[in-house]
């Protein structure tokens, strides 16, 4: 009986502390950003009333039962598991100086994915997880590696895999004008029409999710970030092993509307990723997944 009481008291105490932490984090969010997140998420919830918030992470597969069956069949034996294992091995292999990637980050590896991209006050810019990994290598005397695919994508995929079920919580610090300006730039990048086809990210992924575009179904912008890096059949057919980071995908989208892609891990795409991820705040990471 005493044990039960103690357990209840401890649980209540942890719950209180946990609640306080969540509230503290929520309080840090800039109010205009929180208003954007609410409006963004409510739009999708109203448009697809049969879907729960976390259903949106399945993208086009949440829009069609047939497609979902195909997706589930592929995910029974994911074609990318060995690469994620390689990513884990790389992540855990110490650098020549004996330190590991984990030494560059505070907190558990499990929650790294949910904290990025984040505002780096010292540098005065947005930092993505992929960039932080590259910076960690350089800091420890290792060479830079590409940020679109390959080894970095495998490590990033491993981090996404272990973060499955963790909740995205990207913060644009309240009262930080520079961070808000970066967020606003990312927002503009998302809504501005580009390229010869004169299309914005929003034209496809806000205005028309669920609609067909040639042979494909457009995914909703909400939840797109929950499963990156993804393994795409299209990328596996072309050069590479099929894995790609979210910024590789941004480049692909830009090319599809006949705009010149931006450079990866530079302000334009980093700010876009900042905005794009913040819009999915509160959603669970769904792990690395297959896409067409």
């Amino acid at each position: 009986m005493k044990t039960t009481k103690t357990t209840i008291v401890l649980a209540a105490l942890f719950g209180l502390v946990g609640g306080m932490t969540t509230n503290a984090l929520a309080a840090q969010q800039d109010p205009s950003v929180q208003a954007d997140i609410n409006a963004f998420q409510n739009y999708f919830k109203n448009k697809f009333q049969h879907l729960s918030l976390n259903d949106f992470s399945k993208g086009p597969y949440a829009m069609s039962e047939d497609k979902r069956l195909q997706f589930d069949a592929i995910m029974e034996f994911p074609p990318f598991e060995d690469l994620v294992d390689k990513g884990e091995e790389l992540w855990k292999t110490p650098f020549r100086n004996g330190k590991t990637y984990s030494s560059c980050f505070s907190g558990s590896d499990k929650t790294l994915r949910t904290a990025y991209p984040k505002w780096n006050s010292a540098k005065g810019k947005v930092e993505t997880l992929e960039q932080a990994i590259v910076n960690c290598r350089v800091k420890n005397g290792e060479k830079k590696i590409g940020t679109g695919k390959g080894k970095l994508a495998w490590m990033s995929a491993y981090l996404t895999g272990i973060a499955t079920g963790e909740v995205i919580n990207v913060i644009v610090p309240k009262g930080n004008a520079k961070a808000l300006a970066a967020y606003e730039q990312g927002k503009k990048e998302f809504y501005a029409k580009r390229g010869q086809l004169n299309l914005s990210c929003a034209n496809c992924h806000v205005d028309n999710p669920g609609q067909r575009i040639r042979g494909n179904t457009l995914s909703p912008a909400l939840g797109q970030i929950t499963h990156f890096p993804v393994w795409r059949g299209k990328w596996a057919k072309k050069k590479g092993d099929g894995f790609g980071t979210i910024q590789r995908r941004y480049g692909g989208c830009n090319k599809q509307v006949r705009a010149k892609p931006r450079k990866r891990q530079k302000a334009a795409y980093n700010n876009l990723e900042y905005f794009h991820t913040a819009m999915s705040n509160g959603m669970e990471i769904s792990g690395t997944e297959y896409r067409e």
């Binding site: 927002k187 809504y191 929003a202």
Partner: protein
């Protein structure tokens, strides 16, 4: 005899002048890859490329460069080297138009934001 000498002299002078004019017209153009196009088309091609690249630079600075501009200029260069000046000029003009449209797009999208909510 005097008349004959005068006629020969005038004829030779006229022929040599004509030859000079022909030589000017067919002067080898070292700037042209084919060597036989006249200097005006080479100059206008180069100035057209310069103008297109200047517009491309402006579009790039605004972050609204279109995908194929670089490809058009590269292909134009190949065509020009192969002697297809007309085809090359057409592509350069296309590149310039797209670069200008990219700049216009940047102005139009200056205040882009959500329209659905």
């Amino acid at each position: 005899m005097k008349k004959l000498l005068l006629t020969i002299f005038v004829t030779l002078f006229a022929l040599s002048t004509q030859a000079d004019l022909v030589a000017v017209e067919h002067e080898h153009n070292w700037n042209s890859p084919t060597g036989n196009s006249n200097s005006n088309s080479g100059g206008s091609y180069k100035s057209a490329v310069k103008a297109a690249k200047a517009e491309q630079k402006k579009a790039k600075k605004l972050g609204f460069e279109w995908r194929d501009i670089g490809k058009f200029l590269k292909t134009a260069n190949k065509k020009y080297k192969a002697g297809d000046v007309k085809g090359a000029m057409k592509l350069v003009a296309k590149a310039k138009t797209q670069a200008i449209l990219g700049q216009r797009q940047a102005r139009d999208q200056a205040n882009a934001g959500p329209t659905r909510f």
